[in-house]
């Protein structure tokens, strides 16, 4: 058995490119022989995952971060056997994801993004009983396990109500309970806190930490940097289908500890100012985020030397209808590492 809980080598997934989508990663496939009976190849393919290597140790929480369309979900879908890789291999709990797909499924508990993975016309308890049967849990064991999870997820009072009457947070707890039913050694959690209110999200994060203490290996994808930073033992950053960095959160932050991040809050932001700021020597990345509906912008600048850059920054943003509201220099966060590596914010 592999020493790793999950091990992927050069995983590649290509999809036929849809007509008119103009995929920037689209690559033409080789021409087909005129009289060949071989499978018809699509004219262009879109490479969603492009040679991912992963080695996730048993018992660790591994965070997989990337902007939308980076290949996180495709990677997860290949590891949980919903998708077959175009090339490359992966093992989950020592089982090959293509040749031993059912053994992989028995080793995994998966929570896919979105809240519709359970039946809204069944009660919470009926959902868990149903999935317990699908995961081949003997009836006597299943009965006990369902009660245990209902208790643990704090839904005992409402376990016999239809899921359609639950809040988003409660549905997510049922989805997590479903993944835990067979007590699988490995959990794949795809955006487990997406769309949850802060209190429900905190409860899910606490639960993930508890599951790690119980010995589960967890592969977590998230849009929330703080969540990844707080929970993950190691983080892989994925962009355009490739893992571009892999380290502990601290290790990743050390990569840019020579840099400082200047955060500005201002009104009247326009692209001309961005061009001027980019021209300042030592400024490497600029990201902007509009705060709410108002004309208030948060601008982050990665600088090699903030002391040298600050006077020129102030000079460029003065006048022209722009007003500086606040400014400070901070240590780089994981999000800053992400921006440094990918050139874009996680939500781009």
């Amino acid at each position: 058995m592999s020493e790793f809980a999950i091990e992927a080598r050069q995983l590649v997934k290509k999809f036929p490119a849809r007509a008119g989508t103009g995929d920037k990663n689209g690559t033409p496939a080789p021409p087909r022989q005129r009289w060949s009976f071989a499978r018809k190849e699509p004219k262009t393919t879109f490479t969603a995952v492009n040679g991912v290597d992963l080695q996730i140790e048993r018992g660790e929480i591994f965070g997989l971060l990337g902007p939308n369309g980076a290949g996180k979900s495709t990677t997860i879908r290949m590891l949980c056997t919903l998708l077959e890789p175009t090339s490359g291999t992966a093992q989950v709990n020592g089982f090959d994801i293509v040749k031993q797909a059912n053994d992989v499924r028995r080793s995994l508990g998966t929570v896919l993004a979105g809240e519709r993975s359970i039946y809204w016309k069944l009660t919470g308890r009926e959902n868990l009983e149903y999935f317990a049967a699908l995961y081949h849990i003997p009836p006597a064991v299943a009965k006990k396990r369902v009660e245990e999870l209902i208790e643990r997820m704090e839904i005992k009072d409402r376990a016999n109500e239809l899921v359609e009457k639950y809040s988003t947070g409660m549905r997510q707890r049922i989805a997590i309970a479903k993944a835990l039913l067979a007590r699988p050694p490995i959990l794949l959690l795809d955006e487990p806190t997406l769309g949850l209110d802060p209190q429900a999200a905190r409860r899910v994060r606490e639960l993930v930490a508890e599951l790690k203490r119980e010995g589960h290996t967890i592969l977590l994808t998230t849009h929330y940097m703080e969540e990844a930073d707080q929970l993950s033992d190691r983080i892989g950053i994925i962009d355009t289908g490739k893992v571009i960095a892999l380290d502990t959160p601290e290790g990743l932050k050390r990569r840019i500890d020579q840099q400082e991040v200047i955060r500005l809050e201002l009104t009247g932001w326009h692209d001309e100012i961005a061009d001027k700021l980019k021209s300042i020597s030592g400024i490497e990345h600029i990201t902007t985020r509009q705060q709410g509906e108002a004309d208030l912008w948060e601008v982050s600048l990665h600088a090699q030397n903030s002391r040298a850059a600050l006077p020129r920054i102030v000079e460029h943003i003065s006048g022209n209808g722009t007003r500086l509201v606040n400014m400070n220099v901070v240590k780089p966060s994981l999000e800053d590492v992400f921006i440094h590596l990918t050139g874009k914010a996680l939500r781009d």
């Binding site: 999809f15 036929p16 140790e57 048993r58 018992g59 660790e60 495709t74 879908r77 949980c80 056997t81 919903l82 998708l83 077959e84 059912n102 053994d103 499924r105 028995r106 080793s107 995994l108 998966t110 896919l112 979105g114 519709r116 993975s117 359970i118 039946y119 809204w120 016309k121 069944l122 009926e126 009983e129 149903y130 999935f131 049967a133 699908l134 995961y135 081949h136 849990i137 003997p138 009836p139 064991v141 299943a142 396990r145 239809l162 989805a175 479903k178 039913l181 067979a182 007590r183 699988p184 050694p185 119980e214 010995g215 589960h216 290996t217």
Partner: protein
């Protein structure tokens, strides 16, 4: 990392576990079916509406003295024109409902978002298609029973033949009717939208299988096509079983083709499912809306 802490899976694979999983799919489907109250309308109103169209048309065309009906009954050999029409339309409705219910079983799961979470389990995948068939056969039996009751009470339709022979014909038709549904279900997951195919198949059954007229009225080339449709034998056999004293021996010319078509469509349905499953893993079709 501490590997000694790693939890051990509670799942116990085996035939018994697969059977329990299949039964769980049946139970789930039945529970959800009961929670949509519209099934009451489907069960009590729909059996009347569709045949009524043809019954009233027949009465209108029969002339003021109803002489047309006597000619019709002489031509078909039926003792009751309403019963004759009801058997044809009921078979058509059975196939139609199976195409929508079983044909769209996986697609509905896909749109609900639950197909992937089912697919992630180690259960035999065909259970997800076979499971809904059980409740569908139960609800269809209720539908046919209510049809018989309603037309018996409201229109005085009486059977001269044997209920057991009618049931035997229906039993023999299950593999071909549901096998076609399985093939449809796999096709629909692949192409996402198959209303046109459903309309085509039910149109073929309506025209070629003689749901309201004897197929001897059709031109020769149409009769040749009718011989390749299992519903032709089902309708013919059910009418013989309902309105004559036909026994198994007399029904064999309809029973044997029905069973052969059944074997064919079950193989086609299962093969289509396996093809769809392999294709879905390659293309990600299970998760695509």
């Amino acid at each position: 990392m501490e590997t000694s802490l790693a939890p051990r899976s509670l799942g116990r694979p085996g035939l018994g576990s697969d059977v329990r999983a299949f039964l769980a799919v049946v139970r789930r489907e039945w529970t959800i079916f009961r929670r949509y109250p519209s099934w009451i309308i489907a069960l009590f109103i729909w059996p009347l509406i569709f045949p009524m169209l043809y019954i009233l048309t027949a009465r209108a065309l029969a002339g003021p003295d109803g002489s047309g009906l006597a000619i019709f009954m002489e031509m078909t050999g039926a003792s009751d024109f309403i019963g004759y029409i009801v058997i044809g339309t009921t078979v058509w409705m059975w196939q139609n409902i199976v195409l929508w219910d079983i044909g769209f079983a996986l697609r509905n799961e896909q749109m609900r978002g639950t197909l992937e979470s089912n697919w992630l389990s180690p259960t035999w995948k065909f259970s997800y298609l076979l499971g809904p068939t059980g409740p569908q056969i139960v609800s269809m039996s209720m539908f046919i029973g209510i049809t018989a009751l309603e037309f018996g009470l409201m229109f005085g339709v009486r059977l001269n033949g044997s209920v057991w022979m009618i049931l035997l014909m229906m039993l023999a038709a299950i593999p071909s009717i549901y096998g076609l549904g399985f093939a449809f279900a796999s096709l629909i997951i692949t192409v996402k939208e198959a209303n046109a195919f459903v309309f085509l198949v039910r149109g073929l059954v309506m025209i070629f299988c003689g749901i309201t007229f004897p197929i001897s009225l059709l031109p020769g080339w149409m009769q040749s096509i009718a011989k390749w449709l299992p519903q032709t034998y089902l309708i013919h056999g059910m009418r013989a079983a309902a309105f004559s004293k036909a026994g198994i021996a007399e029904l064999l010319p309809d029973l044997i083709p029905l069973l052969l078509f059944g074997a064919f469509w079950l193989v086609v349905g299962y093969s289509a499912f396996l093809w769809m499953e392999r294709r879905a893993r390659r293309t990600g079709a299970i998760g695509q809306y």
